[in-house]
Symmetry: none
Subunit: 200 residues, 4 copies
């Protein structure tokens, strides 16, 4: 097993592969994605894919990231000073994303790969979820500094309190994801953050 030399890598092929993978998932869903189809669509040999990616899932994660990373330059949450308004805004936006059929399909595919492959799980968490969570934590930190949030509140858990319910409902489809729902979650979270002490 040789390790290929990245300096000699064909950028043209890389782009074509990522583009083909992304488009194929958009058209037929992730379950029907095959390496052969990616190679055919990209006009590329299968070996070129196997040379640079360890699995189909890894290709797709890369494809997803290269398509979405452009816009996500600024992950920072708005800080209008009104925490309630800012959180509503971001949670409603997330609800909208999950309600977009295209993004919904992609995101579910990402979760599936993440569940099947620890390496991909690590990458997705690090490159997609963590930055997002950190941006939200940062916003809460600001509110904490402004005295709007209890000083001893664990903000790492707080962001999960915010996103977890939406995530849970999205994956399990237990009920529709609406703006109203987002607002309700925000109210609960705001209530939780005003708690100043935890026994024991």
């Amino acid at each position: 097993m040789k390790t290929p030399n990245p300096a000699r890598r064909s950028e043209r092929s890389r782009q074509a592969i990522l583009g083909a993978a992304f488009d194929l998932v958009a058209e037929s869903g992730y379950a029907r994605l095959t390496i052969e189809a990616i190679a055919a669509r990209a006009g590329v040999g299968k070996q070129t894919i196997y040379r640079w990616w360890p699995s189909k899932g890894a290709v797709f994660v890369d494809a997803f990231l290269s398509r979405t990373s452009d816009e996500e330059g600024n992950l920072a949450l708005p800080d209008t000073g009104d925490l309630r308004a800012d959180l509503r805004l971001v949670l409603r936006a997330i609800v909208d994303e999950y309600n977009d059929p295209g993004l919904d399909t992609m995101s579910r595919a990402l979760i599936v790969e993440s569940l099947n492959d620890p390496a991909i799980n690590t990458e997705i968490t690090a490159r997609i979820m963590e930055p997002h969570l950190e941006a939200t934590r940062e916003r809460l930190r600001g509110a904490q500094r402004a005295g709007q949030v209890a000083e001893d509140a664990d903000l790492g858990v707080a962001v999960e309190l915010l996103y977890g319910p939406v995530y849970h409902r999205w994956i399990l489809r237990t009920a529709p994801l609406t703006h109203e729902y987002a607002d309700t979650v925000v109210e609960f979270v705001l209530g939780a953050l005003r708690v100043t002490q935890a026994p024991r």
Copy 2:
């Protein structure tokens, strides 16, 4: 397309198939589960599987349920009158389940199938998740009647506030799932439930 007659179904084969499916997932993971392997292990013709189940995922869901349904007769949460203690108990139990390698593997497999196949999603939600959520909702309703929880609190969302964060952390593996973490979430939820008013 014939519809087979359930009366003539071989119970022996049904058991063998479910057992084989369960064991194979336990041994090699859900991703490596194949119909052929189930049939071979169960000493059964492939057609017998295709006759009674629409997909590999459906077999596995059945297998999972038939193995776990024994114990789950009593889903009701304890009601000691101490809501904090009761919620901690149940959330710590869930954390323990997710930390059990066997159950972890099975549960992730269930989620994967659920994400890939709407029919299975419906079944899993209805047969596994909903009963559990409802039991928790029932416990909160009791607390609400006892005046420990704000009267206007949306308990459907409240249970998601409780389980969502754990679920989020479990799937994404953003951080370890500990009893301490469970307790922290419970504190937040208790704080949220004491909020008596929601603006707008």
Copy 3:
């Protein structure tokens, strides 16, 4: 590795595979023959070929035999009493076969496979060459009984003396294979066998 059950074998597929293999060699030569092409042309899954034949060469040998075995019912050489005439006839016929482009291609392919694969060599020798050599030996035995051939002549070597030169020239293409050449070889062989009759 399971051994398949010949009773369940599809005769239709077998025929289609042999036909496709034969036609493909006739069209493009043996070097360009592939299992994939045979499967595609025969409308058959590749596995069906791998299930019943150990190699591409084995398929081709079978194909060749099933196409030629019809005519070869009577391998016996003519016995007009005139050994010279009979041997000329058979050696000229062989020269004609080697000069037929189709048969030439097929026969060279057979030799190549025979050289590469001992199992195929055994089969070709036993099923194609030996019967032919034996028929010729039988004719010489008759002549020996009739006193036209020296009593102590080793007829097994004699038939090689007859066919070997033609074979040598055919494979190495050292010179053209003509009827005249065949006749010359026959004369030498008759001389070697101490046959005293005058030529022409």
Copy 4:
């Protein structure tokens, strides 16, 4: 299409390639010989092979010749005056060569390439077989001049009568190649040539 300049050719690479090709065939047989393996073993770029040889077979023929040409400076047959003895000597030597596993493998590989590729067939015939046949023809010519062989005997065919049977038996493996067999063939040939000397 550039024609490379032979003056700039690397002698070191040429030697390494021929050596690698020869050794690889000796180790694993001709069927498993690949250009990639030759290049790797020789520490040479694949292009260097493609630049100077038209095919894998051509490399091997060159490799074979460069390994064997050293010894074959003198192809001339012995001429002791005793034709029987001289022919026995040369035919027994050939039988010995075919019975040597290494030479057997190489020679079969040569025949395979010769059958597959007319260009190689021409080269092998001209550079290996023809010189040998001509040397034998020359010996027979001497015998003819000495009155030991019929004046009108076609010596071109006569040498095929000598080598053809051995060749036939070697390729088809119809029976073992022994010295006794060689002697028997010689006797037949001497008979065919009307040589009158008594055997032994």
